[in-house]
């Protein structure tokens, strides 16, 4: 589903962020990307989202080499990748349901269909009763669940999450991980970047360890 071969990326000439990254995430797999702050986890996810471009190497997403893809093709890749951030990135002036529907809006779907699908996604995260609330009236955990609903509303084959529990306490974090696990169980590949190693250790998921821009372990599944 996701493959990276010898990928290099930098922010400016003397500021390499990722060095010779090789890794692979299979269909319906759940992997963590861990490493200290500044290791390059966010940069890696931004590469997959095509928000950044790599200098060299190959990046295959859905079997397509996106490393050299045309800018005009980027939106079509993004429509098949859900994404969740530490700071939720919800629009405060739109209701919860409208926030969830934003990814369906860009597909030009009729309003009724958008409303229906976003309600389904909200039900999955257990927040259908908050559909008409505004994000800022919700708790942090609820806001993140709305963000997850938005990310999965269009049933993307890949879900990326960057420090999804960074702003949440352990109990709420647990809820979010359960939710991500459920999304994974429904067939999506899930990639979670976090420096929260304590919790990751207790799961049975594969861990890709990144340090100073390099993959130090777990890049390829061993079995």
């Amino acid at each position: 589903m996701i493959q990276m071969y010898h990928v290099h990326m930098s922010y400016g000439p003397d500021n390499p962020a990722l060095v010779d990254i090789t890794l692979r995430v299979d269909k319906a797999e759940f992997v963590f990307i861990t490493g200290p702050s500044g290791a390059g986890k966010t940069s890696l996810l931004r590469l997959l989202l095509l928000a950044e471009r790599c200098e060299s190497g190959q990046i295959l997403v859905f079997g397509q080499n996106v490393a050299r893809i045309k800018e005009s093709q980027v939106p079509y890749i993004r429509r098949r990748i859900g994404v969740v951030f530490q700071d939720f990135k919800l629009l405060p002036t739109r209701t919860v349901q409208e926030n969830v529907g934003v990814g369906l809006e860009v597909l030009g779907k009729p309003r009724r269909e958008t409303a229906k699908k976003s309600m389904e996604a909200l039900r999955l995260v257990g927040l259908e009763h908050k559909a008409n609330s505004y994000p800022l009236r919700l708790s942090g955990g609820e806001q993140q669940r709305v963000a997850i609903a938005r990310a999965i509303a269009n049933d993307p084959p890949i879900l990326l999450a960057d420090e999804p529990t960074g702003n949440l306490d352990p109990v709420l974090s647990r809820e979010i991980y359960d939710l991500l696990t459920e999304v994974n169980a429904r067939g999506a590949s899930v990639v979670v970047a976090t420096h929260d190693i304590g919790w990751v250790g207790r799961t049975q998921k594969r861990v890709i360890r990144v340090e100073r821009g390099r993959v130090v372990s777990g890049g390829i599944r061993e079995n």
Binding site: A51, P75, R80, V102, V106
Partner: protein, 297 residues
């Protein structure tokens, strides 16, 4: 179609978010189109006047006494070659004399007292409706006056030229003023779109993340710009009409226009359509320049 409504809704919500800004923009654009409209109105009526002036015009080409038959033929061919010319009538000495007698019956015996008929031969040229323009007639006269055998060409050029220069000046002034205020309107529209873009920064960011194309993000701003331009232009044209209806009978008619029995016309449909189109174009151009500077995708 679904998309069109979606874009329209977003554009309207942008306008609705800051109705004062939108109102001021439409108002400014309206004033610009009012000024353009007044210039167009003056220009249009001067054009009508020019045609009226031209419609009675005849060109008289007087030939020299020693003009040869060949020269005469050359002149006639030259006149007939012009598409603007309807008829070329040759007035020989006899006809000239009989006309003179008719016109000045009291002094008719003046001619009889002379041994020889002093009146010159001439060509009398009338023009097609499309050709009855002082400019066309002036150009033809310029061409003919230099042919061998031609003594003089008459069509009342002196005051026509002056009138013409006046019309040209008005038109040039209109063009310059129009261009300048169009630029001002462009800046206003661009600025309004810039405000909308800023207000939508977060939306745009999220839309990009979930896979919105560039066109999808930009389209509502174009619709907003076009709406502002169209509204402003329509309002401006309406103001022009009101100004026309209120002022023309009071100020213009009692003056010289009444004496010459000229009615002042409002802008014709094509001109109005042109102005509305210019309004839409203004919106597109303003949005384009604003997005180009303020929306990096």
């Amino acid at each position: 179609m679904v998309r069109m409504f979606y874009f329209l809704r977003r554009a309207l919500s942008d306008i609705g978010r800051s109705p004062v800004v939108a109102g001021v923009t439409v108002g400014t654009v309206a004033v610009v189109f009012l000024i353009m409209g007044v210039f167009a109105l003056v220009g249009h009526n001067l054009e009508l006047l020019t045609h009226r002036v031209g419609s009675g015009l005849k060109l008289s080409v007087f030939l020299q006494d020693d003009c040869s038959a060949k020269q005469r033929e050359t002149v006639q061919k030259l006149l007939k070659a012009s598409a603007a010319v309807e008829r070329v009538h040759f007035v020989d000495r006899e006809e000239a004399a009989s006309r003179f007698r008719q016109r000045f019956s009291r002094q008719a015996n003046v001619l009889d007292e002379l041994d020889e008929n002093p009146l010159p031969e001439s060509f009398e040229v009338t023009f097609t409706p499309a050709g009855q323009h002082p400019k066309t007639i002036g150009a033809l006269s310029q061409k003919v006056v230099n042919s061998p055998g031609v003594e003089e060409v008459l069509y009342g050029q002196a005051w026509l030229d002056r009138f013409f220069r006046f019309v040209q000046t008005i038109r040039l002034l209109g063009l310059v003023v129009g261009a300048l205020i169009f630029l001002a309107a462009l800046l206003i529209v661009a600025n309004t779109i810039r405000l909308s873009v800023y207000a939508r920064q977060d939306d745009i960011h999220i839309l990009k993340l979930v896979g919105a194309t560039e066109g999808f993000i930009k389209a509502p701003f174009y619709i907003e710009g076009v709406l502002l331009g169209l509204l402003g232009a329509s309002l401006g044209i309406a103001l022009t009409w009101i100004a026309f209806a209120l002022l023309v009978p009071e100020i213009l008619i009692p003056g010289w226009l009444e004496e010459t029995r000229l009615t002042v016309a409002f802008l014709p449909f094509e001109m109005i359509a042109w102005m509305v189109g210019t309004g839409a174009f203004l919106g597109v151009l303003g949005t384009m320049s604003s997005l180009w500077r303020h929306l990096k995708i």
